[in-house]
Amino acid sequence: MIISSAKPFEEILELLEGEDDIFIMGCNACAAKLHVGGEPEVINMKQRLERAGKHVAGWMIPSAACSVASFDALVEKNPALKEAKVILVMACGSGVSTVSRVTDLPVYPSNNTDSLGGRLHGEVLPELCAMCGNCTVYYFGGICPRGQCPKQLINGPCGGSVDGKCETDAAKDCVWERIYLRLERMGRLDLLEKIWECEESTG
């Protein structure tokens, strides 16, 4: 899941200064689950924009803003899109970018994209994955140090943690403590012995 969060409404109004006939496009994937791009949020955005004096041409919630088929396919779902002068996408950066590829209309983001994460029992879990392109999370008990350690250390913790807390944030557990406890429970502390050398290749 791509973790995104809503920009302050004032910032969105600033982005849309001088623009009108706005079409709002939500996203029924991650953004809907995170309550920053589902139907209630899209309708709320429409009302707030209208209260701010903007004309909203229409809205829709594609199943995923990052995998729209074509502009025509979107128009088929809601012909009001044809009348729009700008599109406000309530999704992550991938959604905004994909929608931008099917139209020459200005496409504005309502969200900031934060990280690749997840959600469990209603709790948002940010920064689970650093998208390094070489997944080794198994070696760390399913807890990726590249994604979660602020120094991206993969050979063990730095010397900066105090009482198991992160050097950068005393409220946050050092990810290496969590990895250790998990692997200890799994009886696989041996996985920590592996030295991750710096790999480099040319050509």
């Binding site: 991206q152 063990g156 010397g159 050097e167 403590e177 030295i195 991750w196 710096c198 480099e200 040319t202």
Partner: protein, 292 residues
């Protein structure tokens, strides 16, 4: 010609290293005066690298200035501010300027320093940097291109000295497996705990130089315990500081005793006073250490 730090590591000498902080600005005189205090007392001077993520003059320039004045230096190199290109490039630069000892570390996070919005690099970690340096010593860069080697280069690493932290111990072992030729530790106050630390790594053939920071006040002792990772100031030391008429002198006396205790446990001490080295000669005198 005085013996090089590398040769001293191979000897039976009890070594003294000390920290020199590069200037915030272009005036080297303060750092050079601090080094001058240590002439004949320290075997090598560690030149810190934007320590605590506070921007200062590059240790490259300070190392060269110290070498020009006849000091042996250990240049510190952190992974925080440079990617693998810059790290290797600075190692080559250091070598060409005469630096023959490098001590590597991850580095404090940028958010802890005076430019908290700086991008933290951490392209490779300290274990990987040790691997890169080993490769460079063999004559190759990380991509396998020939660079001609770094003859006579000695590479060290740092560690906390807390045997109750298995992950810290594990990482230290990785550093030694990747070629660390000496280890400098975080400040030691509890020599009993340090002895356990040394026992835990007794199978490893690596010289350990224990860090010491003289206490200056009760407040400082308490602060260290709660805020500085890997440090444990024993309660009785804090009480001694509380009862002292001259806490500065008492701190030196405690530190001197620590150094005497460490003599039988490890290969040397690394002196990191808060501020200047003005009282380091007095400390070493009290500890019964004489050089030259």
């Amino acid at each position: 010609m005085p013996r090089a730090f590398k040769d001293k590591l191979l000897s039976d000498d009890f070594l003294v290293t000390a920290e020199i902080t590069p200037p915030k600005g272009t005036d080297l005189s303060g750092a050079l005066e601090d080094a001058e205090i240590l002439r004949g007392l320290a075997d090598a001077l560690n030149v810190t690298d934007n320590q605590r993520a506070v921007m200062r003059m590059s240790p490259l320039a300070v190392s060269r200035a110290l070498l020009d004045r006849g000091h042996d230096v250990i240049m510190q190199l952190t992974c925080r501010d440079r990617n693998r290109l810059a790290l290797q490039s600075d190692v080559l630069a250091a070598y060409s300027l005469g630096v023959r000892n490098i001590c590597v570390m991850s580095g404090d996070h940028t958010t802890k320093g005076d430019h908290p919005r700086a991008k933290p690099v951490f392209d490779i970690d300290s274990v990987q940097l040790l691997g890169a340096l080993r490769k460079m010593k063999e004559g190759f860069d990380l991509s396998g291109n020939n660079i001609g080697g770094l003859p006579g280069m000695t590479v060290g690493a740092v560690s906390n000295a807390d045997p109750s932290k298995p992950l810290q111990m594990l990482k230290l072992r990785k550093k030694i497996r990747m070629g660390a030729e000496f280890v400098q530790t975080q400040a030691v106050y509890d020599t009993g705990r340090f002895e356990v630390f040394m026992e835990q790594i007794s199978d490893l053939d690596v010289p350990v130089i224990a860090g010491v920071i003289p206490l200056r006040s009760v407040k400082m002792a308490r602060f260290m315990n709660g805020n500085i990772p890997g440090i444990n100031v024993p309660q009785e030391m804090i009480e001694c500081m509380e009862n002292a008429d001259d806490p500065g002198r008492e701190g030196l006396s405690i530190c001197a005793q620590t150094i005497r205790d460490l003599r039988g446990l490890c290969r040397g001490v690394h002196v990191m006073p808060i501020g200047k080295h003005s009282r380091t000669p007095e400390l070493l005198e009290m500890a019964g250490i004489r050089k030259g």
